[in-house]
């Protein structure tokens, strides 16, 4: 066996050579090997090669690449309000409150941005927002099948709350068979794809390795020469034995079982007579050697109509052990790129699932650095986000420097902050917050769940009621099931909804002490402008904007229609709709 560390990228998983061996000792042997491997992993884990903080290295790389984009300068540092709104949205999925804007802009301490980042990363809102981000990333708005979204999001939130390393999270997701109630939610990834092998191969390729093998399912990819039919089937073998299993509990609950499949036979649709074979393999790594057993002795529990098939050697487990780790270069690169894109508005490789030689990263060295460092920090998501958020690149304004056209500053240069559309959940949460309806919403949820008999039922019912309201947004603003959230798009039904829907109008109407009600009571247009802008756009209005509000309200102070027009116009503005 050769586990030389430098060879690691070429050998991304153990090569287990165990010819005819008694099963019991073999099991022990596999266990030993895996534990040895884990130990070796630890030893092989390179510590950081940097002599300073990662965020400084990020900025060095971005600066070094500016000439490539024919740029001499970058945008200036975002002002406090712009930064606060951006980082609050990115890390907690909602705009800051007007009070938070006031407090942050008034704060004189020099390290207030660092403190803010740390505070947000430590918050419960962070864990819950990351649960949404990863739900959307991994499940892509598929309708629930076997595991409910709320169980799954609770599981993800708990994982991010304890800052579970990302490799460990993905390992659990690939490994869980849905039997143990404690880890069952993790099985959603496989279960809710009905354990359909082709779906799993495509999605594991795209989401965990950053390669979209969809067009390599029936033949080598027609336009991407790096993506081969062999890659598709190499990954396929790992999953080909995995099947749904109806748990005996009697409530039609499904778990996973695994039959023994060791290779795939495939033929290109262009050349159907040539049969090819492969064992389990991850992309270009050689096929994995797997233990062989005598026919009839491959199972701990043989497949039958009554029992759950359990093989002595599980290839899905082998995948869970070998894919999410630093030695699988595609994995650390893909995950680093996805987290980067979450904060920076675009991946260093874009689209996120098209890592291949004809689509090189905008900053190849930076991507390599991020992949290495993310692995070196043991896939610590909080630490990784912290470094990116501390970089000048993240903290730049979306406003081009005077005299420079923003169009001359390409998105992939990161010289100017990139826009991100607000996803459906952040849009809903921000709309409620901006219009001052957080209490109103709470009251609505109370009212709708007052029949609940105990706290657990009430909590559940409240979540369901809230989800019902968010669903209007996900239906209209979310991606369609099974496809990734793409670039920002604006559709006609979205605009009709925001302009005319009853469920928007209800938040604009004055009630309790919501924004419209508060603005209606104010007599000075300057105060109205200040409060509206702080609440909705998370900044103070410019003198020009105050003047525009004065003009709009002239003779109409206290007029509810005029206030609603103003509130709506800011809610419907690009500045609100985008994270800028």
């Amino acid at each position: 066996m050769n586990f030389g560390t430098d060879l690691a990228p070429a050998l991304p998983y153990p090569r287990l050579r165990s010819p005819a061996m008694p099963p019991a000792s073999l099991r022990r042997c596999v266990a030993l090997l895996l534990s040895a491997l884990a130990a070796w992993n630890g030893a092989a884990q390179k510590s950081s090669a940097l002599d300073g903080p990662l965020h400084v290295a990020i900025d060095r790389q971005i600066a070094a690449a500016l000439p490539k984009f024919k740029l001499k300068q970058t945008a200036e540092r975002a002002d406090d309000a712009e930064f606060l709104r951006r980082v609050t949205l990115d890390l907690t999925g909602v705009i800051p409150t007007a009070d938070e804007v006031r407090a942050f802009t008034a704060d004189k301490s020099p390290d207030k941005r660092t403190s803010l980042i740390d505070r947000l990363l430590a918050s419960d809102e962070y864990a819950r927002h990351l649960a949404v981000v990863f739900d959307v990333m991994l499940m892509e708005r598929r309708p629930d099948e076997h595991v409910t979204s709320s169980e799954w999001r609770d599981y993800l939130a708990a994982s991010f709350r304890q800052n579970k390393p990302l490799d460990a999270l993905i390992r659990e997701i690939l490994l869980s068979d849905g039997l143990d109630p404690a880890t069952r939610p993790a099985a959603k990834f496989v279960l809710d794809r009905d354990a359909v092998h082709d779906t799993l191969v495509r999605d594991i390729g795209r989401l965990f390795l950053g390669v979209d093998l969809q067009c390599a399912q029936c033949h080598d990819h027609p336009t991407v020469t790096d993506y081969r039919h062999l890659h598709y089937y190499g990954l396929h073998v790992f999953l080909a034995g995995t099947k749904l299993y109806r748990l005996p509990s009697g409530d039609k609950q499904m778990g996973l079982q695994e039959e023994v499949v060791r290779e795939a036979t495939f033929a290109s649709v262009f050349d159907p007579d040539v049969q090819n074979k492969t064992g389990p393999r991850l992309m270009d790594a050689p096929a994995m050697d797997v233990p062989t057993f005598k026919v009839g002795e491959e199972y701990v529990e043989k497949p039958s109509s009554k029992t759950r098939a359990v093989p002595k050697f599980s290839l899905r487990k082998a995948l869970a052990e070998s894919l999410p780790r630093s030695e699988t270069r595609e994995f650390s690169r893909n995950m680093a790129n996805r987290l980067w894109a979450h904060l920076m508005g675009r991946g260093l490789v874009q689209p996120l699932d098209m890592h291949h030689s004809a689509n090189p990263p905008s900053h190849p060295e930076l991507l390599a650095l991020l992949a290495d460092e993310f692995a070196a920090m043991k896939f610590d998501v909080r630490r990784f986000f912290r470094e990116i958020a501390l970089s000048d690149a993240y903290q730049r304004s979306s406003l081009a420097p005077p005299g420079v056209s923003p169009d001359a500053m390409p998105e992939e240069s990161y010289a100017l902050a990139n826009f991100k559309g607000l996803g459906p959940e952040p849009l809903f949460a921000s709309l409620i917050r901006a219009t001052g309806n957080e209490l109103t919403l709470e009251r609505q949820l109370d009212e709708a769940t007052k029949a609940a008999t105990d706290d657990a039922a009430r909590t559940k019912a409240r979540a369901a009621e809230r989800d019902k309201r968010v669903k209007e947004f996900t239906d209209l603003f979310g991606s369609s099931a099974g496809t990734p959230e793409g670039e920002f798009q604006a559709s006609l039904p979205q605009a009709l909804f925001l302009a005319n829907a009853e469920s928007i109008a209800v938040w604009l109407a004055p009630q309790h002490d919501n924004l419209t009600a508060r603005l209606q009571k104010r007599s000075q247009p300057e105060q109205i402008a200040e409060e509206a802008y702080l609440s909705i756009l998370s900044r103070s209005p410019t003198p020009e904007e105050v003047a525009a509000v004065q003009k709009h309200l002239s003779g109409k102070v206290g007029d509810v229609l005029a206030i609603e027009q103003l509130v709506w116009s800011l809610i419907a503005s690009s500045e609100f709709r985008l994270n800028h």
């Binding site: 969809q214 559709s491 039904p493 020009e544 116009s569």
Partner: protein, 404 residues
């Protein structure tokens, strides 16, 4: 920029006026009629009277000498010279029954390959003409959730649903905003965007602005969806039942320049009482469809409007107990007409009792290539915005015989 973008079509913004005029003049449109549930080929376009599989209905002559349709389609039979019938369409069986089979037919890809956009969104994206009208409208018979049919093309190209032929959701202003009050709030919104766009990238804010522009146009043009505004004489010709209204609405929308209109007619899933079912369903379908076809021709629109009559699969030759026919993916019929299609012919053939394809099998993926080619799109091309995915299944090819 913001104000100027309002009325002008995308074409005229991007190219020279004279070229724009030419493009507009040649603007291609598409009408898709989906017979939902699985139309029986035996009771429609591939009758097999007096055979063990043929059922009780006769075959009748059509406007094309030598071509016969089922007697359930007397009016459509008189349109045969405007149509091309393919009697030898097939697909591999897919799990998931109706929905998956529909996806196969409407995306040209086996649904086991993942999500691909349906025809409507593809046309909306590639044939987009005037931007002030939706590119892809779906007239559906019943209330269903929003169907995200654009896959990776994104929400901008997803179909606008007209449930039971009603106007799109949220097309009515909230009670508190009169037309004037509405103008005022859009104006304020535009001002906010103008300020925001200074020294910032404008691609997103322009797209966002344009969605409100189109919303405003649509709110003003709500009459577009009001079929009652068509002449009473036409309402009689099309009939007052749902499918008749929907066909007349489709004519109205196509005449106004909507790029792709799809009508779903439900339901043909006749596992029992196949013959009564088809008698009833086709009785509703036949006259409005043929009226629409001849109207499009008489208005000079058919030459630029591709007509596609689809169903997710055919029905079994074997007549089941309870006089039903089950799902059949080994062969069925698809009918095309209008733009780019060689009319008056029949392509492919099934054997004497319709159990097998006897001549020129045509895969649904081949048909999909053909739907694109017919309106002048290169089906060998790729989607431009993400991952260079081929427009149509690369191992399939357009059906040359069908193209004019």
């Amino acid at each position: 920029m913001l104000a100027g973008a309002a009325g002008a079509g995308l074409v005229s913004r991007l190219v020279e006026p004279s070229v724009a005029a030419e493009l507009e003049a040649k603007k291609k449109q598409v009408l898709i009629v989906l017979l939902n549930g699985g139309l029986s080929q035996f009771e429609s376009f591939d009758p097999k009277p007096k055979t063990d599989t043929g059922g009780p209905f006769r075959a009748i002559p059509t406007s094309v000498p030598g071509t016969h349709f089922s007697e359930l389609l007397p009016y459509t039979a008189q349109q045969a010279h405007r149509l091309a019938v393919v009697r030898s369409v097939f697909a591999e069986e897919v799990p998931g029954s109706h929905a998956a089979a529909r996806d196969y037919v409407e995306t040209g890809r086996s649904p086991v390959l993942g999500s691909y956009p349906l025809l409507g969104p593809v046309y909306s994206k590639l044939l987009a003409g005037k931007t002030d009208l939706p590119g892809n409208i779906h007239i559906t018979p019943s209330r269903g959730g929003p169907r995200a049919d654009a896959a990776f093309l994104g929400p901008q190209h997803a179909s606008i649903a007209l449930t039971n032929g009603d106007a799109p959701r949220n097309v009515d202003r909230p009670a508190m905003f009169s037309a004037d009050a509405d103008e005022a709030r859009y104006h304020l919104r535009d001002l906010a965007d103008l300020r925001f766009s200074q020294r910032r990238r404008t691609a997103y804010s322009e797209a966002y602005h344009s969605s409100y522009d189109r919303a405003m146009q649509l709110i003003r043009r709500k009459d577009l969806f009001d079929v009652a505004q068509e002449p009473a004489k036409d309402q009689d010709r099309y009939g007052t039942h749902d499918f008749g209204r929907h066909c007349l609405l489709a004519r109205r929308l196509l005449s106004e320049g909507v790029t792709c209109v799809k009508i779903t007619h439900s339901n043909y899933d006749s596992h029992m009482e196949n013959f009564n079912f088809h008698l009833e369903q086709l009785g509703e379908f036949d006259r409005p469809f043929s009226t629409l076809l001849s109207d499009l021709d008489e208005r000079g629109m058919l030459a630029n409007t591709l007509v596609v009559l689809l169903t997710e699969f055919g029905r079994t030759p074997k007549i089941m107990p309870d006089l039903g026919r089950d799902h059949y993916q080994k062969s069925w019929s698809v009918v095309l007409g209008g733009c780019g299609i060689q009319p008056g012919g029949v392509l492919g053939k099934t054997n004497a009792n319709g159990t097998e394809i006897a001549e020129r099998p045509v895969h649904v993926g081949d048909m999909w290539h053909t739907y694109l080619q017919a309106v002048g799109l290169d089906s060998r091309g790729t989607h431009d915005d993400r991952n260079k995915i081929p427009l149509a299944a690369p191992e399939r090819a357009p059906v040359k015989e069908l193209l004019s």
